[in-house]
Symmetry: none
Subunit: 200 residues, 4 copies
DNA sequence: CATGAATGAGAGTTCATTCAT
DNA sequence: GATGAATGAACTCTCATTCAT
């Protein structure tokens, strides 16, 4: 049984390696500009080998997408223990942006990049995305009970907050902050997250 | 001189046609998925002809980028006559998002898409982008003089507002609003823009 | 108009060249064993060029198939002027086998080789095949009127004659006559065709 | 010795399994379209295992070819007890076509398909083929002694009969009987075999 | 000015075969 | 003996780009 386990682990490690290489390349150069050979070269295997683990290029993207969302959701959950609903909401936003900064490649693949053609997806993988959005709405509702977001529909509040953090994240990830003084970027981002509290 | 002018006009019309076709295609399918032949077919000319007007595919993208910014800046200017600084800021945001909705292709090319390769130019086309950002900061400063944005650094306020509208615009353009009830999307966007006023 | 015509001719010549190369290769090595590059090399053009004239490998096969049948039918018609129905039938058979000997590649592609997958065909291209078969049945019916093929159903007679010549042709084309004294092959084939008359 | 024998038997069983799987696949899809993995999957072994029993794909084909001929010869022998030479010849033909209908895969591999590449061997496996052909000639000679095949050279008669049955068989195997009413195919084939008697 | 023909380079993918375990 | 992992070579097909006409 030990053997079987080791094999499984190796298999899984290989998939990890492929994903990791692909993630970097995809986010650096975009899905379309990355070739299977690029990925193979990066992990120092032959092209054919990749096809032992993934049926085609799309499936790699797909798996990446899924793993990104899983990781993402986990990060969001970690914040849920905070009592004060406002603190929790801010932390929620911080965690969101932090995820994008920490894993820009994932963020790119999940929220920005054009999905490769077929987009067989939707149903399956978006569940994870919606779970996160539901979490946000839950937190907003609790803030409402504590007296915030007066006269605002929860749907609008949720969309606003999401747009806000997504705006920050995507400008960062797609490198559109060149007109900002680069040494202060983190500071400005942090400032923005706190500024938003005024609207609650 | 009449002849010369006509020639120039014709030349310019051809470039317009190419750009227009390219814009639609790029935003529908992404830069990498559009072939020169696609563009040629769309304008009903041969592929070779395009090369008489543009040196390569990248240059088309580049020109598109520039025209997008020019158009964009023009739209922003149209709002400047509004007296009340808050109204003006809101209108500014509305115009921003409206631009993205109206010209999703331009918006994509300007603010979301990865710039193709070399992006040697930087300086040149970003001027236009910075001009717009300066306009935003100007408007914010005037709102400050009218008593808004208390205790907020202008740089942070500007970045926040920009992030906010960019978030909305880019979620819309890259079709990440699938979890929203599609019949209410416009309404929700509008609600969000007004919600933001609370932070001013 | 002269220009247009010349272009058309050139285009048509190119298709001919491709077909001709493909025909040789297909019949020498079989459809699956021939690569687009092989064909390209043979006509001394680049691979891509072939795709300007044929959308894919299957289409080349398809065109070949059609041309083969057209040529084949023509040959059969040339015999139709013979008055005596028996002479005509024998000539029919001779022409059949002659076609296979003269154009073994066509014969192969038309009557022996496995059709490449999709077999979109049937309807369209088999018409030509059926036309020939109808011709055979017509000739048999006329022989019947002259007192031959007593007590034999026309369908059975036609199938028998066809099987007979196809047997000869396909043994020849697929080189299964190795056990025959090679210097007498033509003679034996001719003898066989005359032997068959005894069954009429 | 028991152990050795069992091993031999197991080895032989494995080869049988491989051949049987390969035979089906080859005749269904053609030699070139069958992959080693296909074969392996069919017998539920790994690809590598096949290489323990056969040195390469060509060798499988080769072995198949041989076994086909052995089986074929056996079938022909079974007819030899028939007294009347004409009955025997007809039975011979029926057995021939029957073999093709029963084992189209073998027939294909033996008499139609292009031999894969090198076909170094020739000599070896053709012996079996020639033995069958000799049997046919023997039967014809005996029919001659009984007064049939007047004025016909045995070589020509043999070739004619073979061509005839091969024609039927190969049209059947390669599915070129589409213009025949499919519900009557067997009947027509049978009719043709009897029609041929008229030439004896 | 406009074109159609041509191409080189490269894309994703498949497969027979090898080999360490 | 049997396997699964790995690979190199090859395949079909695409595309930005060039150029003679």
């Amino acid at each position: 049984m030990g053997i079987k386990e080791r094999k499984e682990r190796q298999k899984s490690e290989m998939r990890d390696a492929i994903l990791s290489a692909a993630l970097t390349l995809f986010s650096e150069q975009g899905y379309e500009n990355v070739t299977m050979r690029n990925i193979a070269d990066k992990i120092e295997y032959s092209v054919g080998t990749i096809y032992l683990y993934y049926k085609d290029k799309g499936e790699i993207f797909f798996d990446l997408h899924n793993r990104g969302f899983a990781e993402f959701y986990k990060k969001q959950l970690e914040i849920q223990h905070i009592k004060d609903p406002i603190d929790r909401l801010v932390a929620h936003g911080e965690a969101y942006v932090q995820f994008a900064i920490e894993y820009p490649e994932y963020y790119d693949v999940m929220f920005i990049s054009r999905t490769p053609a077929k987009e067989i997806q939707k149903s399956a993988h978006w569940e994870e995305g919606e779970r996160t959005y539901d979490l946000l709405k839950l937190n907003i509702r609790q803030a409402m009970e504590a007296g915030y977001f007066k006269d605002i529909h929860v749907e609008i509040a949720a969309f606003s907050l999401w747009s806000f953090v997504h705006g920050i994240a995507s400008l960062y990830v797609r490198d559109r902050l060149r007109m900002l003084p680069s040494e202060h970027i983190k500071e400005i981002i942090s400032g923005a997250l706190h500024f938003m509290k005024r609207a609650y």
